[in-house]
Symmetry: C2
Subunit: 240 residues, 2 copies
């Protein structure tokens, strides 16, 4: 059940998290008040279900059965909220720590990151350098740098490799076409739209590619791993 605008049902039912705010006198239970963690999780859920533009203080408050102003007891402001959401999302990325070869470790990490960005489609667009200081993000950065330095990269070379890898990662997620999500019929429809938007005569190559994708589905997983392999191979080569 998705509740994306302020429906009455949202106020009549328990929250998604299952924690009821009603002031039941049965004490000893975990506090029925808000906290930073619950606010951030609710914001992430809201963004996942309804899009990042639906994450407003009032809507978030509605979900938590609280007025918007109350949220400021637990977060510093909207910037803090968004930063916390990113940090929470990044914490879901898996960095294997068992003894696999560094290249395989980083490949798995990248694929895990891509899955996280697929789950939280708003995340990639929110990331920039200043977000890397959250507690989860820092731990994540540290682990990846550890893998690279352990593989023989110097500290600065490791940072460089990390930057290159994540640039690709975030950039891919930002601009990847949404086409492949829809089914075949709609895909050809989109391609036809693209073709319709192309003035006669011009854009021969773009048209050729559009036709290509109107006929054959675009495998974005394969496209991603193709580029990922390119970069990892290059990093390995730069190491020797």
């Amino acid at each position: 059940m998705l509740v994306c605008q302020g429906d009455v049902v949202a106020a009549a039912l328990p929250t998604t998290g299952g924690v009821i705010i009603a002031h039941s006198k049965s004490s000893k239970e975990p506090r029925d008040t808000l906290n930073r963690e619950r606010v951030l999780r609710a914001a992430v859920d809201l963004a996942d279900e309804c899009g990042i533009e639906s994450v407003t203080m009032r809507e978030l408050g509605r979900r938590l059965e609280v007025k918007a102003a109350s949220l400021y007891n637990h977060i510093a402001g909207k910037d803090d909220l968004l930063g916390g959401m990113v940090d929470l999302a990044l914490s879901e990325i898996d960095v294997p720590t068992d003894g696999v070869f560094w290249k395989e470790t980083l490949r798995r990490r990248a694929i895990s990151a891509r899955q996280v960005f697929a789950r939280h489609r708003w995340a990639a667009g929110l990331i920039d350098s200043r977000d890397r200081t959250g507690p989860n993000s820092l731990a994540y950065v540290d682990r990846v740098l550890g893998v690279l330095i352990g593989a023989g990269f110097s500290p600065s070379a490791a940072a460089n490799a990390f930057l290159v890898l994540d640039s690709y990662l975030y950039g891919f997620e930002r601009q990847r076409p949404d086409v492949s999500i829809e089914d075949g019929l709609e895909r050809t429809e989109v391609a036809r739209e693209i073709l319709a938007a192309i003035p006669d005569g011009g854009y021969r190559y773009a048209a050729r590619v559009a036709i290509e994708y109107a006929e054959n589905p675009f495998d974005q997983e394969a496209a991603f791993e193709f580029g990922l392999g390119l970069i990892l191979d290059g990093l390995e080569r730069s190491l020797g």
Copy 2:
């Protein structure tokens, strides 16, 4: 002279573009009314000088000596405005068409794109797949695909290569640290802040890298071209 908030001086002086709106009766001159092009250019200037968050309808109107509502005669809405700004910025990217080797062509294009993103720091953050349908963007996409197909890539391989390259391009610009912009003193200051934010004991590798950059400046141009070379070499290898 930067005028970023609604100062009175903005209304007393001619606009940056040098076009005076005053209703001078000397006719036959180019119309003194607005048009889409002038609105978009003013928005780009405003974003360059004051940041993308300063681009509001009212502020943009103030710059053009017009009320906000009047802008809607020339653009469909804010989405259209932002899309047009991105299209305008992308049109500044250079794609050499003379007979140089495809790899060199794409390298030059990437470097040109990075310079454009440095000029228009807001642009990379605004780009996503749906923005590629503007007239300038389409022409740009077409030229790049033409280079790749001309080099021997199949249409789908060319699209894939294009996606990988631009993912890196946009991603790098999004997350590149601002540190290197400030001078040496401030840089070490920033590094010290990072170190201060790191809890004792944890994050050994991140700390090591931070120290590294507190001592030696970070050459982001070199970092960018390192990753670019990696990808281009990989693409060439995938071709043969």
